[in-house]
């Protein structure tokens, strides 16, 4: 329960950071997709199920405030979290290079799907233009921010993991 609450709190704080990014750092033009970093990190660090839930809830929050189709972002983030969950237990250290790579791929995939649904399917063209002005800059920015945020999430997850182990070691405290 404590674990779930901690993870939920991480999602909410990340969402708040992302939505107020422009106000706190006024000079920046492109906002990194911090929720995607969280989703990918959780998938890699905690497995398919966690990645899926984190993606689902992050997406719902985004849809709730800024979505055009309610449930669309939730659906894609959920699959991103789930698929990144396949990397779980393939590596354990704090090395941020592999998460960086998969965050980059995930961000590109998400934004290309976003483009297809919101623009291409509505008869608007210009993929090259969008790729240059929106998709690529966001992917690069998000990949750079992964360095910092993956380390933060890694440290928090270590704490959560320690808490879980403690609970398992004392059977009378089990739910």
């Amino acid at each position: 329960m404590k674990k779930n609450f901690s993870i939920f709190l991480m999602i909410v704080i990340t969402f708040l950071l992302q939505s107020t990014f422009h106000q706190v750092l006024p000079s920046s033009l492109i906002v990194p997709n911090l929720l995607l970093i969280l989703t990918v990190s959780m998938g890699i660090m905690r497995g398919k199920k966690s990645g899926m839930w984190v993606g689902f809830i992050s997406g719902l929050l985004t849809d709730l405030f800024f979505g055009t189709y309610f449930g669309f972002t939730a659906l894609i983030y959920m699959y991103i979290g789930y698929l990144n969950g396949f990397l779980f237990k393939m590596f354990f250290d704090e090395d941020f290079r592999i998460p960086m790579f998969f965050v980059g791929i995930s961000d590109l995939v998400y934004n290309i799907i976003f483009y297809i649904v919101h623009f291409a399917l509505q008869g608007k063209g210009g993929f090259g233009k969008f790729f240059r002005t929106t998709i690529l800059p966001e992917a690069i920015c998000t990949v750079i921010f992964t360095i910092l945020f993956y380390e933060i999430y890694f440290a928090i997850n270590k704490k959560i993991h320690a808490g879980e182990q403690e609970e398992q070691q004392s059977p009378w405290l089990r739910r």
Binding site: K49, M78, F114
Partner: protein, 283 residues
């Protein structure tokens, strides 16, 4: 081993359930069978105060350098401002007299007073869209202050956008510079109608494009484009921007060009929401 296998099946199973949940959510809200407004409101009540808080921190960080100004500098500035106030007060008196005259003349001509006459509510921008696709943002006033969907939003005398969603203490505004957004406008001096479009490419250069302008008059850069009477969502007479360049279409029937919006979209802190929706205004 057995337990791990069970875990796998379960996560796949859960993925399938959540996929169905998402797809039904999308289809239910797209077809407007179910409204998510109540959930939006509930979430807003929790999230918006926190966003406001972070903004205050941001303002505080940005405002830090003011604290370092010396008392002498501040005193000097104060002195300058005081003289400026007295100047403005003088001007104000003259303008008030002029306004009275203007109102009388307007009444004579039976003209609309423009958007200065509408009831407005001021709001602060507290959050931006989490993605980089759309230019929407959240403001800290909502239905409690009488804001409803489709109300026009202005800032510094120019059109900013339109309210797209409302909660009790927040509202989402979609800016006019958004890609694919089009507004029916007109040239202020000649009242010739045109269509103003937002465009992703031009957004970078802080410009918008306009087209379908048929006119015999000689329109030069610098002229104002305002919202027209025939616009279905925007109130008439709100300044959109100034013409940057203008040229003939290839068929020489109409003119197209670019305009610079009156509002600096990179730096919007406070906005005014006009508490009048176009439809009700027409009644």
């Amino acid at each position: 081993m057995k337990k791990r296998k069970g875990y796998h099946v379960k996560s796949k199973y859960l993925l399938a359930i959540l996929t169905i949940v998402c797809i039904s959510l999308i289809s239910l809200t797209v077809t407007e069978t179910v409204s998510i407004t109540p959930i939006r409101e509930a979430a807003g009540v929790l999230i918006v105060p926190m966003q406001s808080g972070i903004n205050k921190i941001g303002d505080w960080i940005n405002g830090q350098h003011i604290g370092r100004k010396s008392a002498r500098e501040l005193a000097e500035e104060n002195e300058q401002l005081k003289t400026r106030i007295s100047e403005l007060e003088e001007q104000n008196t003259v303008l008030t007299q002029n306004e009275q005259e203007l109102n009388d003349l307007r009444a004579l001509y039976n003209l609309d007073q423009g958007y200065t006459g509408y009831d407005k509510v001021a709001a602060s921008v507290i959050a931006k869209d989490t993605g980089n696709w759309f230019n929407s943002f959240t403001i800290d006033k909502g239905s409690d202050d009488g804001i409803t969907v489709d109300m026009n939003v202005i800032s510094a005398g120019g059109l900013v956008g339109i309210v797209t969603a409302v909660g009790t203490n927040w509202a989402t505004v979609r800016s006019i510079i958004d890609d694919g957004n089009s507004i029916s406008g007109m040239i202020l001096s000649t009242s010739d109608p045109c269509i103003v479009n937002g465009n992703m490419d031009l957004m970078e250069e802080d410009k918008m494009s306009f087209g379908n302008l048929t006119t015999d008059a000689d329109i030069t850069p610098g002229e104002q484009i305002v919202t027209s009477n025939i616009s279905d969502k925007y109130l008439p007479g709100i300044l959109i921007g100034y013409i940057d360049s203008i040229e003939d279409d290839s068929n020489h029937l109409a003119k197209t060009g670019y305009l610079i919006p009156a509002v600096d979209f990179h730096n919007i802190q406070t906005v005014l929401v006009i508490k009048q929706v176009k439809e009700s205004g027409a009644q």
